[in-house]
């Protein structure tokens, strides 16, 4: 068993996607009651990484035995449940799932409470949950995927984090649905454009400010941000991020869009 270690955003990405079937379609894992320890989750994350790299055929046989205590297999989906310090949750795709009292809103409430319980100021916790909400809403609206996006949060040792992952068309294809963004030539350019204020595949005024909420919620805070889309990566580490400051780079193709944001609880409390 691996020692307790924080789940890196890549682990989170791997942790919430399963490679289902021979077609290689990535689908999110679903949530149900499970009392996995973080150590077990780390082990599971390592398994997911191997799965992601293509050795899933071998792992498929091992999975039922290995995931004992982590969750339940429902068909080929592993059901992963919450721990005291983190959760994985499907993002609802219909408006009813965003109603007060709905499971997804309760999930966000638990994230907020967990942050506040570690000493984070309430306005900061509200801002972060708002940012998660924006990213989750974006994923539902733009992914064009039959599979629901997945959101996670985690507080571990001295770090807080959240992520939203979808298995959709990615940023370039999404933006190119608008004539205004047909000229985008590559994934890096598309990602750079997408995180700019006021850019949306709808090309409507008042749209395209979801990322703004992320950056604003992190003003004056030490944090790291990772946006990964089909063929590009944008990362940032520092204080008070801004869209134009992210480091962009081309990456191997992967489906969908993934945002992971994390920060130090110590600096939040300060």
């Amino acid at each position: 068993m691996m020692a307790n270690s924080p789940m890196h955003s890549l682990d989170v990405l791997d942790n919430v996607l399963a490679n289902i079937g021979t077609a290689g379609v990535k689908k999110p894992l679903h949530l149900d009651a499970c009392r996995a320890s973080l150590a077990n989750r780390a082990e599971f994350a390592a398994m997911r990484r191997a799965w992601w790299r293509g050795s899933h055929a071998d792992l498929l046989d091992q999975l039922p035995g290995r995931v004992d205590g982590l969750g339940e297999l429902t068909g080929s989906l592993l059901v992963v449940g919450p721990t005291d310090s983190g959760e994985v949750h499907d993002v609802p795709e219909d408006q009813g799932g965003w109603e007060p009292g709905a499971p997804f809103l309760m999930f966000q409430e638990r994230f907020k409470t967990a942050l506040v319980n570690t000493g984070a100021p309430s306005p900061f916790a509200h801002g972060i949950v708002g940012a998660l909400n924006e990213m989750a809403s974006n994923a539902v609206e733009h992914a064009q995927s039959a599979a629901p996006p997945v959101s996670t949060f985690e507080l571990f040792h001295d770090r807080w984090s959240f992520s939203v992952t979808d298995v959709g068309v990615g940023v370039l294809a999404s933006l190119r649905t608008s004539p205004k963004y047909q000229m985008l030539k590559n994934e890096v350019m598309a990602l750079q454009t997408a995180i700019t204020d006021g850019v949306s595949s709808t090309a409507r005024p008042g749209r395209g400010f979801g990322f703004t909420q992320v950056f604003r919620s992190l003003a004056d805070r030490a944090c790291s941000i990772r946006f990964r889309t089909t063929g590009a990566l944008a990362v940032w580490e520092g204080v008070s991020p801004a869209s134009q400051q992210l480091t962009m780079s081309p990456m191997p193709q992967r489906i969908g869009f993934h945002v992971a944001v994390s920060g130090s609880l110590a600096t939040v409390r300060a």
Binding site: Q95, G96, W98, E99, P100, G101, L105, Q108, K112, S122, P123, H126, G127, V129, G130, A131, N133, E134, A136, S137, N138, V140, E141, D197, G198, P205, G206, R207, F209, G210, T212, Q213, R216
Partner: protein
């Protein structure tokens, strides 16, 4: 002078204090419109934002901003925290819109208003009730038609209400009694 404007509390209406995400906003839109219509008096309604911790631009655009497009409807935001105003202003500026915000009884306009309309609305506020003809006296270089167009633009932004007095249209700031 402002008067007590009938209104509704936004957080109580949607039963949450973190208002973010376009999908959540689209889901809440009809609830908010229903509450606004129920509370409105002569088309005027105060949107009480007390208790709201976060209202993202996307949420405001999807859920609240549509109120400004309803016919003969004059929304006014009240008790809006400074950081929420920043997010609202993003949407207003992107849409070329503006709105009255009442903070501690003091009205201020947030959003995009060009200097011409700014001057016009200030004059409406200063005089209480005006017609285009009244404003023509202010600056003879600007004809009554131009003043009339400016007042109509303010009306379309829901920053002023108007009433007819014979052939004359009188304008008052939305929040004024």
């Amino acid at each position: 002078m402002t008067m007590t404007i009938a209104g509704f509390n936004l957080a109580e209406t949607v039963k949450r204090t973190v208002l973010a995400g376009r999908i959540a906003g689209a889901g809440d839109k009809s609830k908010i419109e229903k509450a606004a219509r129920a509370a409105a008096s002569e088309g005027r309604v105060a949107i009480d934002c007390s208790g709201i911790e976060v209202m993202s631009s996307s949420y405001f655009d999807a859920a609240v901003w549509p109120l400004w497009s309803l016919a003969d409807f004059f929304p006014i935001m009240t008790k809006v925290s400074a950081h929420v105003i920043d997010d609202i202003e993003i949407v207003l500026k992107a849409n070329g819109g503006a709105a009255w915000c009442l903070t501690k009884g003091e009205p201020r306009i947030v959003g995009a208003l060009d200097s011409t309309l700014e001057r016009t609305v200030q004059e409406v506020v200063r005089r209480g009730e005006v017609s285009a003809g009244d404003l023509a006296d202010l600056d003879r270089a600007i004809g009554a038609t131009a003043w009339s167009n400016r007042l109509a633009a303010l009306y379309n932004l829901r920053l002023v209400r108007r009433s007819k007095d014979g052939r004359r249209l009188n304008y008052v700031a939305t929040w004024r009694a």
